[in-house]
């Protein structure tokens, strides 16, 4: 078949694949359909559910009073300023991102006078969200944790944890991913003893992924007393802590308290990694503002580590996107903005606590068996109800209320939306009532008004 090629760039006569009449197998023919990730599947099931009162409680975002994601007026104003700023140039940022951002993100976690910062043994890299930070950390561990070659694990994740975590380490080539028990169904909280038991059994120099605060997906965190015990164990067993800090400030309403475990380890002279996200605390989900913090033992290795981190970033995404990081840097470097931001975060937390308290109160009024105190003891974005798999399925299939399969939900999605609002996720005047029977499958009532009789 002849092709004619014109000098003006056009292509001469062609034929399309189908007209050729030859069956050609695609080179992708062996590619199987991937299992959808659990969250995508849950949302897809919710979307195809035609029931009028359906409710989705597994969202990943913080919601405002209107039940929507939003940015604060401060952030909105700064975004406007950035847009009209003539001094900002469209240059490639460095692979480490904006220096002002990494500096502030580092200080936010460790505190400005942290020894590690003063002694110049801290590296900060702007990443594509928290996922990007974990991925970059995993790549660094794979290449450099083991002096004699590639390191393949073991890395320990909490059970449960965010369902993409294991995949991130595996994608980086770390195949040996294990779990430590974390959520205790009976206690409806962190099963510290079982957690310590599992970690005692871990090989020396294992990497342990720990949630500094606002554990995903349970919302249950260790107390300071337990953190001290855990760090003693980690020092003794020479474990390497890899912290997750996805919502600093949004757990206790206090950035210092939320980062306390990281600061504790740093103060003990430990080396560590910490993956941070600014999605929730700034409402900048789509901007993908993340940060990987590396605290090293020796400042002598800093430049070399920096060069290797750059190499890894180059092969992942080359450089991060700047917009969101610029907003965060602008807020964090201006004392007045910083204060305003912290107040905003605090009020988000207060609203979150109110919702949890309401939920607990409603359950108490209904006479639900069991204790529901864990709802207000948990903090941050998520809440683990303690419902089991069958109960969650009942809620979904029979009541059209969608939770994570592990019984976790985002309490903010239970907020009653103003009357007349049109959001799909927030039916007006809806509150979710969880009524448990220890002997029966749960029943859930969707409250319109008045209270249903049980």
């Amino acid at each position: 078949m002849r092709q004619t090629c014109n000098s003006d760039g056009g292509v001469g006569s062609t034929e399309n694949v189908q007209a050729r009449g030859i069956t050609l197998l695609s080179i992708f023919v062996d590619t199987p359909t991937a299992e959808p990730n659990p969250e995508t599947k849950l949302l897809a099931d919710f979307k195809t559910d035609t029931h009028l009162s359906k409710v989705y409680l597994a969202g990943r975002e913080y919601l405002n009073k209107e039940g929507q994601t939003s940015v604060s007026p401060l952030v909105g104003k700064i975004m406007q300023q950035i847009c009209t700023d003539p001094t900002l140039c469209p240059e490639y940022p460095s692979s480490f991102g904006l220096p002002e951002f990494t500096r502030r993100a580092t200080e936010l976690v460790l505190g400005r006078d942290c020894h590690a910062i003063v002694e110049n043994r801290v590296l900060g890299v702007q990443t594509v969200g928290c996922t990007g930070a974990v991925r970059l950390g995993a790549e660094l561990l794979k290449h450099w944790y083991n002096v004699s070659g590639v390191w393949c694990g073991p890395v320990y994740l909490s059970s449960p944890c965010d369902d993409s975590l294991a995949g991130i380490f595996e994608a980086a080539g770390i195949q040996d991913v294990r779990r430590y028990r974390y959520w205790d169904t009976e206690q409806r909280g962190v099963g510290v003893q079982k957690m310590m038991e599992d970690l005692e059994m871990a090989p020396e120099q294992s990497v342990i992924v720990l949630s500094a605060s606002a554990h995903c997906p349970t919302g249950s965190d260790l107390s300071q007393k337990h953190w001290r015990l855990l760090t003693q164990l980690m020092v003794r067993c020479r474990f390497f802590p890899f912290f997750l800090l996805p919502a600093q400030g949004l757990c206790h309403g206090d950035v210092q308290q939320d980062a306390w475990p990281v600061r504790l380890c740093a103060s003990l002279g430990m080396e560590l990694l910490c993956a941070q996200s600014f999605s929730h605390s700034f409402g900048l989900y789509g901007e993908r503002v993340g940060h990987l913090l590396c605290v090293l033992k020796q400042s002598s290795t800093l430049l070399a580590v920096q060069s290797q981190a750059e190499k890894q970033v180059r092969a992942l995404w080359s450089r991060p996107s700047v917009r969101g990081a610029r907003v965060v840097a602008t807020v964090l470097s201006n004392p007045a903005h910083h204060v305003e931001w912290q107040e905003g975060v605090k009020s988000m937390v207060e609203r979150g606590i109110l919702v949890r308290e309401r939920l607990r109160e409603k359950l108490r009024l209904l006479g639900c068996p069991g204790s529901w105190d864990h709802l207000i003891q948990q903090g941050g974005l998520y809440c683990c109800t303690g419902l089991n798999v069958q109960q969650v399925e009942f809620l979904e299939k029979r009541r059209h209320i969608y939770l994570h399969p592990n019984g976790c939900l985002n309490p903010q999605f239970c907020l009653a939306a103003p009357p007349g609002s049109l959001q799909r996720r927030h039916t007006p005047k809806l509150a979710v009532w969880l009524c448990l029977s220890t002997h029966r499958i749960i029943r859930v009532s969707c409250l319109r008004s008045p209270l249903p009789s049980l």
């Binding site: 092709q3 090629c5 760039g9 695609s26 080179i27 992708f28 023919v29 062996d30 590619t31 199987p32 359909t33 991937a34 959808p36 990730n37 995508t40 975002e61 994601t69 406007q80 847009c83 469209p90 240059e91 490639y92 594509v128 969200g129 928290c130 996922t131 991925r135 790549e139 660094l140 561990l141 450099w144 944790y145 002096v147 991130i168 994608a171 120099q205 020479r238 080396e271 990694l273 999605s279 989900y285 789509g286 901007e287 993908r288 090293l296 033992k297 290795t301 580590v305 060069s307 290797q308 750059e310 190499k311 180059r314 092969a315 992942l316 995404w317 080359s318 450089r319 996107s321 969101g324």
Partner: protein, 414 residues
């Protein structure tokens, strides 16, 4: 108790990325006459970065639009960005688009698109586990091609002959020869236009020869398209090779970057376009891409993609963008013509036609490493050791200095 092993205890210093080092050295040079010809971005005649007027306009629209939120994008990216970006590469009337066998993944710039494509191919191309499948990149090529594929797990990344240093042009025979001898199903990374770093593209006839061998030997086509519109000033012209391969029935990947042609270097706007036999194959490929994206960056950044999507999907803005692109391309062409004319006027030894024959941002001057070193040390003119210059670093104010310096270098240093 034995001493603890430290994380990164014995980390060696990585070799610095050459182009970054060059930029740093330039920054620290106090010579007021210094010129940076290593920069990888567009510069105006005042030597400044340029925010495209259409970009400024659309940014204001975005900021003013209350309906736009800051929520997570879908894992594969903004749908209207993905489809309009693919249309730009393949053409509005592409048979593949009409036959519904095109898919796309929004990525972090061109690098991100290459990364996603590489990760997919390593896992799923031609049966599982392609760690040993050879990946061919041009000699020379953008040096990050090697890292992206190696880090994705490909153990065998090799060069294919491309640049003929003696004739200062394409080594077609060598290129075709390597295509003939490559193991079947090898992956070839092709530059869609404005080859980086040589600025030398195959002619249409030469592309047809390349395509013929690749089809016969069942080699995988992976286009890298970072300069569409920027090379000739015309989007369609610059996409000729990609579109030709589609009409030849190839299945392929095309990694697109909008960093240069939109001047959105810091927003990381890229797209991986996937052309397959049919919609079912596209669907399965995209489902696997989702998994890969999920463990790399989860979902891509929204700002840049939104901007590009609005521009491409609004007729007046699209026209304005094409005009802005042409402005950039025309300035580059002007600098090429000026430099060549000045070297000829100076009687600089050698031929300098390649400066105007090459296309896009870069030119392989033909200066050897010693001459490059002389340019840097003695004249404070910064260019890559390969002799590559970025035409955007030239301005009407510095072009005389640069031309005289090249002349002096060629005459005094061999």
């Amino acid at each position: 108790m034995p001493a603890s092993r430290h994380f990164c205890q014995k980390v060696p210093q990585a070799t610095p990325v050459a182009v970054f080092k060059l930029s740093n050295d330039f920054k620290e040079d106090p010579n007021p006459m210094k010129v940076n010809l290593g920069v990888g971005a567009y510069r105006t005649d005042e030597g400044q970065p340029w925010v495209l007027p259409v970009v400024k306009k659309v940014e204001k629209l975005i900021v003013a639009d209350n309906r736009l939120n800051h929520e997570y994008l879908p894992i594969l990216g903004l749908p209207e960005f993905r489809s309009s970006a693919s249309k730009i590469a393949l053409g509005e009337d592409s048979p593949a688009i009409q036959e519904n066998r095109v898919g796309a993944v929004q990525c972090l710039g061109g690098t991100g698109a290459l990364k996603m494509g590489a990760e997919f191919l390593r896992r799923w191309y031609n049966g599982n586990d392609n760690m040993k499948t050879p990946v061919y990149v041009s000699a020379p090529t953008w040096e990050n091609h090697n890292s992206v594929f190696a880090n994705a797990g490909f153990e065998d990344v090799r060069p294919y002959k491309y640049w003929d240093a003696e004739k200062r042009g394409l080594d077609l025979a060598g290129f075709l020869g390597d295509l003939e001898t490559a193991p079947k199903h090898s992956i070839f990374v092709l530059h869609a236009c404005a080859h980086n770093p040589t600025g030398t593209d195959p002619t249409h006839m030469e592309w047809t020869q390349v395509a013929e061998v690749m089809k016969r030997r069942k080699l995988f086509v992976f286009f890298d398209s970072a300069y569409q519109g920027f090379a000739s000033g015309c989007l369609d012209k610059d996409a000729w090779a990609v579109r030709y391969f589609v009409t030849q029935g190839f299945e392929m990947f095309c990694a697109q970057s909008f960093s240069k042609n939109f001047g959105l270097y810091n927003e990381r706007v890229g797209n991986l376009t996937i052309v397959a036999r049919d919609a079912d194959n596209v669907r399965r490929v995209l489902s696997q891409m989702e998994k890969i994206v999920r463990v790399t960056w989860s979902n891509p950044p929204s700002q840049g993609a939104r901007l590009v999507a609005i521009t491409l999907n609004t007729a007046e803005l699209f026209a304005e963008w094409k005009d802005n692109v042409k402005t950039m391309a025309d300035r580059v062409l002007l600098m090429r013509a000026s430099l060549q004319a000045k070297l000829q006027a100076l009687g600089t030894p050698g031929t300098w036609d390649h400066i105007t024959q090459q296309i896009g941002m870069f030119s392989f001057t033909g200066l050897n490493p010693k001459q490059v070193e002389y340019m840097i040390k003695e004249r404070s003119i910064y260019l890559m050791a390969s002799g590559r210059i970025n035409m955007c670093g030239l301005t009407t104010k510095n072009i005389d200095y640069v031309a005289k310096s090249i002349h002096e270098t060629v005459v005094n240093v061999q």
